[in-house]
């Protein structure tokens, strides 16, 4: 159990540092690569919390699919060294920081007011047949309708993305 906590601390530090790097880098490609580091650390935390299947899905969908899409669009859209730097907005950074602190304080207060759950175990999540069997049984038995709705949503997103990005004839 102690090893689990130490691993979580290390992975949390990596995830947090990488996500700060994502929003501070000037070069968009660097931001995307740091975002991949964040996704890897989060996937490892999933595995630590006995969500092995979700960890694999996280790597396949985020690090494998979404980030390739991001990098393609960055290379299509970004022209380094062109365009004005934009007017500096001094009050903008301060207002953003205050707003972020406000959101964090409200969320944190909400978290603290909610009843604290005890540390979990593997009893249900990894029961006979492992995590993949448990998740897929729940998915296809209890959540079949949401699953179908999500597949329709993905189809609509696919068609919409093609229509939006298609050049005008």
């Amino acid at each position: 159990m102690e090893a689990q906590f130490l691993m979580f601390l290390a992975l949390a530090a990596v995830a947090l540092a990488a996500s700060v790097m994502v929003i501070t880098r000037r070069n968009l490609v660097h931001s995307a690569l740091y975002l991949i580091v964040t996704f890897f650390a989060v996937a490892a935390i999933y595995v630590l919390l006995h969500a092995e299947f979700l960890g694999v899905v996280q790597l396949l969908v985020y690090a494998g699919g979404i980030m390739v899409l991001f990098l393609f669009v960055i290379l299509l859209v970004e022209r380094p060294g062109t365009g004005p730097a934009g007017k500096p907005m001094r009050w903008h950074a301060a207002a953003s920081g205050v707003l972020t602190l406000l959101v964090a304080a409200i969320l944190g207060a909400h978290f603290l007011r909610s009843g604290m759950a005890p540390p979990g175990g593997t009893a249900v999540l990894g029961a006979s047949g492992g995590n993949l069997e448990t998740v897929s049984l729940a998915l296809f038995r209890n959540y079949l309708l949401p699953f179908e709705v999500v597949s329709v949503l993905l189809l609509v997103a696919l068609v919409g993305a093609i229509v939006l990005a298609r050049p005008r004839a």
Binding site: I23, V73, L99, T122, V124, T134, V135, Y143, G160
Partner: protein, 100 residues
């Protein structure tokens, strides 16, 4: 001893970084990346509570969140390409057609 509270603290910090990125940066692609950070923070909470209770429903919902995030990213990036084609810029402070 790892407790759900620790994961919640990490989730809160990652979400705040995402909010700061959306508010602070003016590049639309980076705003989309910050939204991905926030969705990941929410997913961390789902997984932590699924582990704490323990109930596999949290993991199923995290799966739905990942699918929705994939669709959101695809449509968002397609919109960015369309905007770039029309305005030759994806800086959100230059896209002010609706400003009075």
């Amino acid at each position: 001893m790892l407790e759900p509270l620790h994961v919640m603290i990490l989730s809160l910090a990652m979400f705040s970084v995402g909010v700061l990125g959306v508010l602070l940066r003016r590049n639309a692609i980076l705003i989309l990346m910050s939204i991905e950070l926030m969705l990941n923070a929410a997913n961390l909470n789902f997984i932590a509570f699924a582990w704490a209770h323990p109930d596999v429903a949290g993991q199923v919902f995290a799966l739905f969140v990942i699918a929705t995030a994939a669709g959101e990213t695809a449509v968002g990036l397609a919109i960015l390409i369309a905007v770039f084609r029309n305005r030759s810029s994806i800086r959100v402070d230059e896209i002010d057609l609706l400003k009075g």
